[in-house]
Subunit: 381 residues, 2 copies
């Protein structure tokens, strides 16, 4: 691990871990939910509000920032920290996910992938070297390897080819990576195929990364399959290395992966739901504020929540904002939803340190059973 | 003036006045720019941000709030203050402007005006009594009479009829108004016709209001005509009464009406411009952030501005947000634009108290001449 970084697991409870990650831009306590700032903004939230809700590390996206505004403009600000006004740790994803998930024709090559920009259709080649260069210009604390993300439902031969490619690219990223103030994360692919995951993990461990991401999950596979893979990787990945689950943000899923040894994770869910007028609750229930039953509901959005939204406004007011498509609705619900995820992680962290994560998770589940019960009505799947 | 209110002119400089208004929800120092919260939200700004930028009083709109969410729902929150989470003074306009300016067929009746709701096309009758009832339910500190706003470019006979109607409705509002914690504002109409303005003012003075609004200006007439009317009303309206110019928010116009004895004014301009990606500067210049010249501009939006946006972000970042249609662009530019207007008022207030408003206004104008000069390029009309 580069000298400017450190990671230590400080407490264990079953497979769950509570740890501490040191980066050039500050410490992160794990388990940690990272809000997603794809285009150098966590949508509808000011950086000072991210601090207020307890965010410790945020994401940026290499693909989008490469095209708009361009990595050189971000670099001219001293990197993403200066560009987006966020002083804490940042992680950038490599853009591989976007290359393989966004519309457009792709041509896979030995040395990378050719694709069309979603911004103007122009053709581009992303190679591992190129992706590292882009991320060095963006200047995040944690950077990721170019990978080929393929859903677990893909054909075995395709999945295997994607794993081979991901390993080859990971090795090239490892060789290309230079900045001592950046930590490179290797990404384990392999869908929901145990043998492939074992192979992918072994190959990455051979290369030796300071942190490992679990990719290619939470992309349409069944939940038991996803959890089986996380459990497998908990056995395969070194205990002392940081583990990053890519793309999970529903409270139940978050508790599931925390219980299986994941340290950090990200998701657009809290902010995306907010922009559709939906509030998250810690137990995983959702409030659709378009619902007419909130029209004269003078209760706070979520009783007991410590966020500015819940301390200040009523459900009736929030419903009014949502129905009138007021920007403030997106602001307040994003604030609440992100706070909800971050508080859940803080509580889970405390529970791990206290050795009672199982009880904590059970109590959250119990609230959920109650909340979705026939007499509550305030929650939806 | 009701006992819970007080207004005093504390300093004069030429025709300009610096005063202090006491309301049940706190004091307002005048001249005062009031941000507009039509639908119980100053668009893209949290109430705590309004406090941060120095807002003292905000507007709500009776027409829109009557239809959505409905006055009774606002009343159930103890009024607009509780509903929108703004603890300071609020003024509601009567909805007359919306009835006469929004699309739909209107039928003028002796006792009011029949119109179609822009929300669902349903037919409604607004009478002076009804408008007062709505505003009593909304619970603002300052409330306004139902008036017939007609642009100065209208036919003389129509203008005269509108003045007669406005006086008749003002008398009815005066009789209907009951709440001791609300101050009713009479509205002077009459377009840009001096005789009509004199008549309108005289009739309202006969009825006797604690505050007077100047309506029907800033709606398409020439600026010299507008200013002539403001000067006339400065002579006609009692010195000790609060004066409200309805709808002015460009920095130059604001200084023009302050210099002619206006105390309070409102406008959607700062927040509306923000949502189109345009920043205001104190001297009246505008920055269109879509402009490519800002793409790599690392300067703050406006050098020397004390707002969170200017303290934290670069023009290049703001341009990126605007171009990517990020909500944060509207948030940050609204914050800056409202702060700009409010700081302008605070500086004008200080200048009036120091007896040097003319010099202050000249210095702002000089900055503007400089700013729009051929070598600056950073400003547009």
């Amino acid at each position: 691990m580069p000298a400017q970084f450190a990671f230590a697991v400080e407490a264990r409870d079953g497979r769950a871990r509570a740890g501490r990650l040191r980066t050039p831009h500050g410490e992160v306590l794990t388990p940690c939910f990272m809000p997603v700032g794809t285009k150098a903004t966590v949508k509808a939230l000011e950086p000072r509000e991210l601090t207020e809700v307890g965010a410790e590390m945020v994401l940026g996206n290499s693909y989008h920032l490469y095209f708009r505004p361009g990595a050189e403009i971000v670099a001219a600000h001293g990197g993403l920290h200066g560009f987006m006004g966020w002083k804490g740790p940042i992680l950038t994803d490599s853009g591989g996910f976007q290359v393989f998930s966004l519309a457009g024709t792709r041509v896979l090559r030995e040395d990378g992938v050719e694709f069309s920009s979603i911004y103007d259709g122009s053709r581009h080649l992303f190679t591992p070297q190129h992706i590292i260069q882009i991320q060095e210009a963006l200047g995040a604390d944690l950077v990721t390897c170019l990978d080929h993300c393929m859903p677990g439902t893909a054909k075995p031969a395709d999945l295997e080819a994607a794993v081979e490619r991901t390993t080859r690219w990971a090795a090239a990223c490892r060789r290309a990576q230079r900045r001592p103030d950046q930590l490179l994360v290797g990404i384990v692919q392999g869908g929901v195929d145990e043998a492939l995951r074992r192979r992918a993990a072994a190959e990455l461990l051979d290369l030796g990364f300071a942190a490992y991401a679990i990719g290619g999950l939470s992309v349409g596979e069944r939940t038991p399959d996803m959890l089986r893979m996380v459990e497998l990787l908990d056995e395969l990945l070194p205990e002392e290395r940081l583990r990053y689950f890519m793309g999970i943000g529903d409270p139940q899923g978050v508790l599931d992966v925390i219980a299986r040894g994941v340290d950090i994770f990200d998701c657009v869910l809290p902010t995306r739901l907010a922009r559709t007028g939906t509030a998250l609750t810690a137990c995983g229930g959702r409030l659709n504020l378009r619902n007419a039953r909130f029209a004269d509901d003078l209760a706070p959005l979520v009783r007991g929540c410590d966020c500015y939204c819940c301390r200040t406004f009523t459900r009736a007011y929030l419903r009014h904002l949502v129905n009138q498509k007021e920007i403030l609705a997106a602001q307040l619900l994003s604030l609440h939803n992100v706070r909800t995820l971050i508080r859940l992680c803080a509580e889970a962290r405390d529970a791990i340190r206290a050795g009672n994560l199982t009880q904590y998770t059970a109590s959250v589940r119990a609230k959920r059973s109650l909340a979705v019960g026939p007499h509550q009505g305030g929650f939806e799947e």
